[in-house]
């Protein structure tokens, strides 16, 4: 189980022997945060709120640190070009919000061997995403993984239930729990921000109540079937797992997109995996 927590040394030291994803607000804190975690815990990654990639200052001591960089945009390629080689050398995944320029930027970065992930948001442009998804999964030459498409494709099962792909966004309570500075425990970042905690103390981390809360969350998707929700009846459910649904509605067009994605994934079977370059860290 990985724990996502803020860069608070006292909190991190209390987590002795755990696997930790530490959050920092600025890139200059990446190395220090990694070092603090590694003193007594295993570092899974550093999650860093970032400036646009074109403005980022890459430090030497980022080498060997798995980094999830949450960037608002890529920026002009002429400014990214000088950093491309350095970015490739890092164990890095760049997270970008789903906007037109970012979809292009994601494709550019991936084509240069830099792993990226697109956060769909509430109302994505499905057509543009479908284009990027097709490139991500059927592109003819090796490129870095583009998530969440890669994670969805890896977890897709024919004649069986596909894996939930929330883990790529650190949103899978079977793998990741979220802590605030006081050590209160939440099942996701959204819950943490909303103050929706399953336990108020770090000592409850391995307790039966937390375990039960995790189980309930992992089974929450079954509520859609209990309610005969339209997502439960959708042919795309087996791949989207209703991740786009907020419990009431899903954004228009999600069914067509995920249906197409299932077709692309099935078409992709049989393509040599050697098309993909060596794997970087996965959430």
């Amino acid at each position: 189980m990985k724990l996502v927590c803020p860069h608070e040394r006292a909190l991190i030291d209390r987590l002795e022997g755990r696997t930790v994803c530490v959050r920092v607000d600025a890139a200059r804190d990446i190395a220090a945060a990694a070092a603090d975690v590694r003193r007594r815990n295993t570092l899974s990654c550093v999650i860093c709120e970032s400036v646009p990639i074109e403005d980022i200052e890459i430090e030497d001591d980022w080498q060997g640190v798995p980094i999830a960089l949450m960037a608002p945009s890529v920026g002009r390629f002429r400014n990214v070009a000088k950093k491309a080689a350095a970015l490739r050398k890092l164990n890095l995944r760049i997270y970008l919000p789903c906007e037109a320029d970012n979809l292009t930027g994601a494709r550019l970065l991936a084509s240069l061997g830099i792993a990226v992930c697109i956060d769909f948001g509430a109302a994505p442009d499905w057509e543009a995403l479908a284009d990027l998804m097709t490139y991500a999964l059927l592109g003819p030459v090796p490129h870095a993984p583009i998530d969440p498409f890669q994670t969805i494709a890896d977890g897709y099962r024919q004649a069986a239930r596909s894996d939930d792909w929330g883990r790529v966004f650190f949103d899978d309570p079977s793998r990741t729990l979220h802590l605030d500075a006081e050590g209160r425990i939440a099942l996701s970042r959204r819950d943490l921000k909303a103050g929706d905690f399953v336990a108020c103390d770090l000592s409850k981390l391995d307790s039966a109540e937390v375990k039960h809360a995790i189980e309930q969350r992992l089974d929450a998707w079954r509520n859609l079937f209990a309610e005969d929700h339209f997502c439960a009846r959708c042919e795309a459910w087996r791949i989207c797992r209703a991740r786009m649904c907020d419990g009431k509605a899903a954004p228009d067009g999600c069914d067509a997109f995920f249906h197409e994605m299932a077709e692309v994934i099935e078409r992709r079977r049989g393509k040599p995996e050697s098309n993909r370059p060596a794997e970087k860290w996965r959430p």
Binding site: A159, E215, R222, F225, A226, D228, A232, C234, R238, E266
Partner: protein, 371 residues
């Protein structure tokens, strides 16, 4: 392999709207006492000792078998170990249950009997699946879904029968996707509802309607048949008609005379679950007759003769004989008054195959001739 439908009780906690089995009241229905249960395993051992190459599948059925409690299954296991020590390796247990009473202790007991999967039934149509305790349909659904969650956590597989009623006809693809989304890797079988009583006319469907229901789903399944779990009747028909794989359910194989028998809670042998429900083909008491004697009953010769009669008679010119064999003999008896009659449901099979399966699966006219 011989198949025993074991009905230790006919009581049921559910009140499915279309159910026509009368003997399901809680207080009046019998539960198989332990002396009969124990005698059953004595009889089973006799049978397997006589037939050294034979295996036996025991299908726990009902009513609702989980009403018996986990202890009942533990008891069955103890009897099996006591009386079938040398033959129990050839005994396989399965269960058909509505799952709404499932608990961890049930699962443990079932696991000890060697089960790794369960069969169930479910219909995602409002107002059909109900419980006797007064809870509305959402209560049934909630219990069912909690139960399958428990099964999956305990690494049990499960397959489901979806009963198609009049209420299902408007939304075939909705139901198809719902069921295939829900069942992880087991099977989904679509069966038509079987109702005769006038009060159930709102659920009744015709053979043609059932064929069209399947036909609405089939193109989607066919295009992506590797994607979906085993969906029946599509998978077995594909196997039989295109891949020459002979793997039939009891109603289609024309062979149940040689394989099936049933034991009710009072120790009466009969042919199968339906025959017990409908009072047909009684083979006597477990106290008086062994399993071998049940298989030698003269009534079975009639059943065996049925294949000959039908294939030479009303089914003579049918291209689909090999995947139907005139259907369930009991269906035939209910419809025509005689075991020698074919089932009325054969029309749904024929219509489905000719109107949907053949054109969509791309069978050529020559290849439609099945043996």
């Amino acid at each position: 392999m011989a198949t025993l439908i074991l009905k230790p009780t006919e009581a049921c906690n559910a009140a499915c709207a279309y159910c026509e089995v009368d003997r399901k009241g809680w207080r009046t229905t019998k539960i198989m006492p332990f002396d009969i249960l124990e005698l059953l395993f004595v009889r089973i051992n006799e049978f397997l000792e006589e037939r050294q190459s034979e295996g036996l599948e025991i299908v726990w059925h009902g009513g609702e078998p989980l009403l018996l409690g986990a202890e009942y299954f533990e008891k069955a296991r103890a009897f099996q170990q006591k009386h079938c020590a040398a033959t129990q390796a050839r005994i396989r247990h399965t269960i058909q249950t509505n799952l709404t009473l499932l608990s961890a202790s049930h699962i443990e007991a079932l696991r000890k009997l060697g089960m790794t999967s369960v069969g169930t039934s479910y219909d995602p149509v409002a107002g059909v699946r109900l419980l006797k305790n007064g809870e509305d349909g959402s209560g049934y659904n909630r219990r069912f879904l909690d139960a399958v969650a428990l099964l999956e956590r305990e690494e049990f597989r499960w397959g489901v029968i979806c009963v198609v009623t009049k209420l299902s006809l408007e939304r075939p693809l909705d139901i198809f996707h719902f069921m295939t989304n829900l069942v992880p890797d087991g099977g989904v079988m679509f069966n038509p509802v079987n109702v005769e009583k006038p009060e159930h006319d709102t659920f009744k469907i015709s053979a043609e309607e059932f064929a069209d229901f399947l036909g609405a789903i089939f193109p989607v399944w066919w295009e992506h048949r590797d994607r979906y779990p085993r969906v029946e009747p599509f998978r077995s028909l594909t196997g039989a008609l295109l891949e020459k794989k002979q793997n039939y359910y009891c109603a289609d194989g024309g062979n149940c005379a040689n394989t099936h028998f049933n034991l009710g809670p009072e120790g009466r042998w009969s042919h199968c679950g339906r025959s017990a429900d409908w009072g047909l083909l009684d083979y006597g008491s477990i106290f008086d007759r062994s399993v071998s004697q049940v298989f030698s009953d003269a009534a079975r010769d009639e059943l065996r003769r049925r294949n000959e009669v039908l294939s030479g008679g009303e089914c003579r010119d049918c291209k689909w004989w090999s995947v139907c064999h005139g259907g369930c003999p009991l269906d035939g008896a209910m419809g025509s008054g005689t075991l020698m009659g074919k089932t009325d449901w054969c029309r749904s099979k024929r219509d489905f195959i000719e109107n949907y399966f053949v054109p969509i699966a791309g069978m050529t006219p020559n290849s439609t001739r099945s043996g």
